[in-house]
Amino acid sequence: MNIEMEKIGMDPKERIARRVAQEIVPGTLVNLGVGLPSMVANYVPAERGVFFQAENGVIGLGARPPEGMEDKDLTDAGGGFVTAVPGAASIDSAMSFGLIRGGHLDMTVLGGLEVDENGHLANWKVPGKMVPGMGGAMDLVAGARRVVVAMQHSARGASKIVPVCTLPLTAARRVDLIVTDLAVIRPGEDGLTLVERAPGVSVDAIVEATTAHLNVPDNVPEMRLD
């Protein structure tokens, strides 16, 4: 797929981040996972009045600090230096996860290893190989009002959207939306529905790159990437 990505002059991760950013409702509280999901913040204008939470303890996460002005006591959940926006609040882990688990978090954006036709997410363990641990992911998926998975469609040529997860689940809850470099997919009662395709990517190419069954409506519009 990389050829098509280059055609439209946009890195696949940037494409995903820009598309996810459109999901973010003004004035809400949003948690972005480490890695790709954290890039989403770059495409959310300050005027939207969104507060980003870093689960390690700040509401009102801001951009990287100016060179030489980093504070060792102000980092994101990945340990990278960040800033705090005006109106930010410092919180401890009990308050942080109280917000997440108590239904106060409007949306979370997480990476994924697999998502299946039930909308189940697996993203914390590859048995025998890689066991990073769930960190806050199980709390986020169980507790956030809306869960968006932001990930590449495939890894090493294999579809990450599968009939049934082979990896250990992160939660029993069905996620609300999947955004990949190829497509936007909505899990529901009746399985996975293809709702948007990346610019220049055909429905057939998406179906071919996906081992899970996809419901395909007559009209699948292109992602808007503003």
Binding site: D73, D92, D139
Partner: protein
Amino acid sequence: MKQALRSSEAAERMPDGATVLIGGFMGVGSPHRMIDALVARGIRGLTIVANDTARPGLGIGKLITAGAVARVITSHIGLNPETQARMLAGEIEVDLVPQGTLVERIRAGGVGLGGILTATGLGTEVEEGKQVIEIEGRRYLLELPIRGDFALIAAHRADYVGNLEYTLTAHNFNPIMALAADTVIAEAEAIVPVGVIPPDAVKTPGVLVDHLLGRAA
């Protein structure tokens, strides 16, 4: 009023095999002086309860590298390949606990709750071996309290009676862990006279703190 203790003295008071709650998140807000003192003392067989094991050479990662740790109860070891390697080699037992469940279990231990019911972990490996309780048609996992023999706490400022202040993302597990151990040892970046930290700014009351490390030499 507390007596200022050296980190080496504090480390001497901690026996091999102790269960130790350690504050910090990827080394931010971790009690670095106490960690260094424990490594220097050559402590062994610890059960560590902490959000993560940081990285090799950083914070709790130093205890892992030093071979001081027999067991870790934690939410994340993904950024410390050494913890993973020792786990796979059977040298360290690792109990992975969802981060929100971990902090609530420690809080439960600190505030005298016999357990908490949570939906986090339902339908996952975390459910295995746990009691499930149904309330008004919804299922919850019964999660049990965690306490430590010791809690090692990092604070921004302390005063002479042990009141603690934290700052920004260096709060994390510290204020909760300060509730949940038989002996609480706090290190602060500055120690100020009583009254400098106003009552409304105190996040850990000094009555919870047993020992305060003295000014770094």
